[in-house]
Symmetry: C2
Subunit: 232 residues, 2 copies
Amino acid sequence: MHRTRVRVVEDALDANNTIARANRADFDRAGVRVVNLMSAPGAGKTSLLEGVLADLPGVRAGVLEGDVQGSLDAERLARMHVPVTQLNTDPGFGGECHLDANMVRSALAEIDLQELDLLVIENVGNLVCPAEFHVGEDARVMVSAVTEGEDKPLKYPLMFRTAGLVLVNKIDLLPHLEFDMDLFLEYLERVHPGVERMQMSARTGEGVDAFRDWLIRLSARAGDGAREQVAM
Amino acid sequence: MHRTRVRVVEDALDANNTIARANRADFDRAGVRVVNLMSAPGAGKTSLLEGVLADLPGVRAGVLEGDVQGSLDAERLARMHVPVTQLNTDPGFGGECHLDANMVRSALAEIDLQELDLLVIENVGNLVCPAEFHVGEDARVMVSAVTEGEDKPLKYPLMFRTAGLVLVNKIDLLPHLEFDMDLFLEYLERVHPGVERMQMSARTGEGVDAFRDWLIRLSARAGDGAREQVAM
């Protein structure tokens, strides 16, 4: 009796991961690689996608766009002639501050996974809650803009710790800021030792090729059986 | 019977506002004005406070500093010789993404309200959830950095709609950005017509005096009985 009650509690806490695994099974069956792209508001997620999605040779890419309200980013990306699905969180309490596995699952009915090799899920701009919810992704990529200051890894450690790739964006503005890149990288190393990181500017295009190549390599691995899994 | 059950549900939904009113009553008794300061991560809340708190003639100011983890900002502000209390949200689920009335109440035991005219509550950097929780404040002030782009009022409307003052920060970087101020102000007007706004740079100090004067005026009103209340 006692054991049964404990099991119920564990199942309840795990509901998001249960649905994330179901999403993952659907992505695997369709051979689609999935990136969960996260950042603070205005760090440049959409601009980076504009920079890479137009030119991904051999990769059929799609985007699931998460926002509290509106479809401004989805409209920007649709101009790149990639399929974009908008998911708004505002029916929730004041507008949910993240995507969870169930929201992503509800959007899958609108996405033809057979037509894709890569699905980028652009999460709600927020450095806290999105990191707490797996959605069935292969990789977590986060964008940290140099305009936000060096201290962000220490202040939002879960986000930096669970990212598999950190994109340090807006480096074109470095000459106009007091941003100390060495200090940022030291803080990053403290919360997530050895995490892969790339410096770039979505605006000038500098460094963006490295992210494009990373996406192409991720997509190419879809059928090779050597899949790295995000721990759930 | 039916009415009783409905009343219980309303009380439960209102728990945060109930505690916010209790906080407010304590602030009123002590004659302290309270600002709830909110923004995205890295918009410059702490830098703006560094710019104004050192020189607020006739106003005894204190800060309640909210962060997921760490006390970097509190240490910066303590150097200004103002009393600073740190409130960390990380015991919550993965780190709560906002302050609520109960968290603020739990910190009040550490703050001597009799020694203050003004308490600034620096919220967790997040454009979504902090706007959903009253904490007993007199005024909500939000910071929006021009580096975040023009579209933020449309993407995070609740935050901009519930702010009584919008500080448009980092204007020293305008020559290096494609930020369209007219478009930003048009979007702001669309979600919150007529809201008071100020343009400034915490880094150069340009425009910061207007915010300092605003804080002095707010604090001076503490005893005049003509108090404007944030709707709860």
